[in-house]
């Protein structure tokens, strides 16, 4: 059940030049959060629409969001400090469903990495991660994966860290090495999601992807965040954001 909570910022941290992390006192909202879901945050009086932000982590009553300061709303959010209060709707959307047995491979690209942390941590059969960044300076959350005992392989577009290239190469590596992986979960830019799906398909492993589209209400009423799935427009905020990659009309 989604709810509206006024959440206090417990900790605010800048991770890279444009990526920020907020730890929120979110009560029941945090306890209800599932991997792959998101929250819709009111970003000041001047911005009419809330900003949908993926849930990076949830433990007890605390909720963590990690986001990129990109436009006016997220820049406002990036300026929040410990003690500030935020109007948060959530948890929203349909997240990742775990396979009955086996490990999951969580794959994140850039600002698609944060939701993969919770997705990996909650995996009942364990998880391994493949993460891709533009370059070394854009790397985020690597220590968090380590702390959660989730093995990580890294790729970067320019080779300054890890594999020189894209994450789909890492997906192939993992799926070749480890036959206990029974599902691939991915979040990131659309071309990356498509390439990860292609790699997973080569190995016959089901792939679930988190899609992105401009949103209005965030709760499934206004129908603006349309995404073509199975020949029909479904809605990222309510039907998704996570869809079976096999059904997405790429």
């Amino acid at each position: 059940m989604p709810m509206q909570n006024i959440c206090r910022v417990l900790q605010a941290e800048q991770l890279t030049a444009d990526v920020f992390s907020l730890l929120l006192e979110a009560g029941a909202l945090a306890r209800a959060a599932k991997p792959g879901q998101f929250v819709n945050i009111k970003c000041g009086e001047g911005n009419l629409l809330r900003r949908p932000i993926s849930i990076c982590d949830a433990e007890g009553d605390t909720l963590r969001v990690v986001f990129q300061a990109k436009g006016e709303g997220t820049r406002w959010l990036a300026q929040r400090r410990s003690g500030d209060e935020l109007d948060v709707l959530g948890p929203l959307g349909h997240g990742y469903d775990y396979p009955e047995t086996g490990k999951v491979l969580v794959v994140g690209g850039g600002i698609g990495v944060p939701p993969m942390l919770l997705a990996g941590k909650r995996a009942p059969g364990g998880a391994v991660a493949a993460v891709g960044f533009r370059d070394q300076s854009a790397c985020i959350l690597l220590e968090d994966f380590e702390e959660a005992n989730i093995p990580v392989k890294i790729a970067s577009d320019n080779g300054t860290v890890g594999h020189h290239g894209f994450v789909d190469a890492l997906v192939r590596e993992y799926l070749t090495e480890d036959k206990t992986i029974s599902a691939v979960f991915a979040c990131g830019p659309r071309p990356m999601l498509k390439s990860v799906f292609t790699a997973a398909k080569e190995f016959g492993v089901p792939c679930f992807v988190s899609m992105e589209e401009r949103m209005g209400c965030g709760i499934g009423a206004c129908l603006v965040c349309a995404c073509s799935v199975g020949g029909h427009y479904r809605h990222v905020c309510k039907d998704g954001p996570v869809f079976n990659a096999e059904e997405v009309d790429w």
């Binding site: 009111k42 911005n47 009419l48 629409l49 209400c217 009423a221 206004c222 129908l223 995404c227 029909h232």
Partner: protein, 306 residues
């Protein structure tokens, strides 16, 4: 605090309070009912229906603008039969007036849809002659008085005892001419305003944000335009008005009523705050009480023009 009678009568449809939610901003109510009991509202203008199901426009369908949004959803909906079969039974269990909203490609289509809805259990039919986001039908009917009148006549002929409310477009030179034509053709009420056509361009890609290039503007940015048009229409016709366009708080709703609206719809504000319509209702009651009114309806038409 003095007790205020919040009930209003919109063309024979008695609502427990004057706060309605605008079509296209509230779906069929289910999503909001997860946050609160939607029986708190006077009525719901349901998502716009067409004769057959529609997929809607390709995304992006929304762009944020100063104090507003542009949308071009393009009437994605399950069709009038889908609504009657799957949405209406659930809605009928709620203590809230149900206003079906319809769009057609021809006057005949409006008639067929009214026929289907006439004994379905809806409390009112809102006829959309003003959707800016679909190519055939909608806006074109709402900009020519004779065509709006023709659609109104068809709707009235087939709606049985269900009151018919025509939703007017602000994208016209003289909205009072359309309102007069609609009243003469037998409409029971009018609702206004629909969205104002607009456009936003990404300067770097030189692409419009919306895939359909243009869309409809709503939100606080349009409130003064809506209040002015409600006032003009109220001075022109005798049939009641459902006022809408940028209403986000109780004071906005009170302005609409003072300008001449019998009831008020909250739309885009529901995106920022799902509880917005409930807050508008409570605030409206407080305003009426503070002004010593015994009925909220006493606000209607109460503006004192210079």
């Amino acid at each position: 605090m003095k007790h205020v009678d919040m009930s209003v009568n919109l063309a024979g449809m008695v609502m427990k309070n004057p706060v309605v939610v605008a079509s296209g901003t509230y779906g069929f109510g289910r999503e909001f009912n997860e946050f609160y009991d939607i029986s708190a509202l006077g009525g719901i203008c349901c998502k716009g229906l067409t004769l057959h199901p529609r997929e809607g426009n390709p995304p992006p369908r929304i762009a944020e603008t100063p104090s507003g949004i542009l949308n071009s959803v393009g009437l994605q909906n399950p069709g009038v039969d889908g609504f009657i079969a799957h949405e209406l039974p659930w809605l009928r269990q709620r203590d809230v007036k149900i206003i079906a909203n319809i769009s057609g490609n021809t006057p005949e289509e409006y008639g067929i849809m009214c026929e289907k809805l006439s004994d379905s259990g809806v409390d009112m039919i809102e006829v959309n002659v003003s959707c800016p986001n679909v190519k055939c039908g909608g806006l074109q009917y709402g900009t020519v008085p004779a065509m709006t009148a023709e659609v109104t006549e068809q709707a009235k002929k087939h709606a049985g005892n269900v009151p018919v409310m025509i939703k007017l477009s602000p994208n016209v030179t003289d909205i009072t001419a359309i309102a007069r034509a609609v009243e003469d053709a037998g409409a029971d009420a009018v609702s206004l305003i629909n969205t104002i056509r607009g456009m936003r361009i990404d300067v770097n890609t030189r692409r419009p944000i919306l895939h359909m290039n243009t869309g409809g503007l709503s939100g606080p940015a349009v409130l003064p335009v809506a209040v002015r048009m409600v006032w003009e229409v109220a001075n022109t016709v005798k049939i009641p008005i459902l006022g809408m366009g940028g209403v986000a708080k109780a004071e906005d709703a009170a302005q609409m009523m003072l300008a001449g609206a019998t009831a008020v719809a909250v739309g885009t504000a529901c995106f920022a705050d799902p509880f917005a319509p409930v807050k508008v209702r409570d605030g409206l009651e407080a305003i009426a009480a503070a002004q010593g009114l015994s009925r909220v309806g006493e606000l209607t038409g109460g503006v004192r023009p210079w």
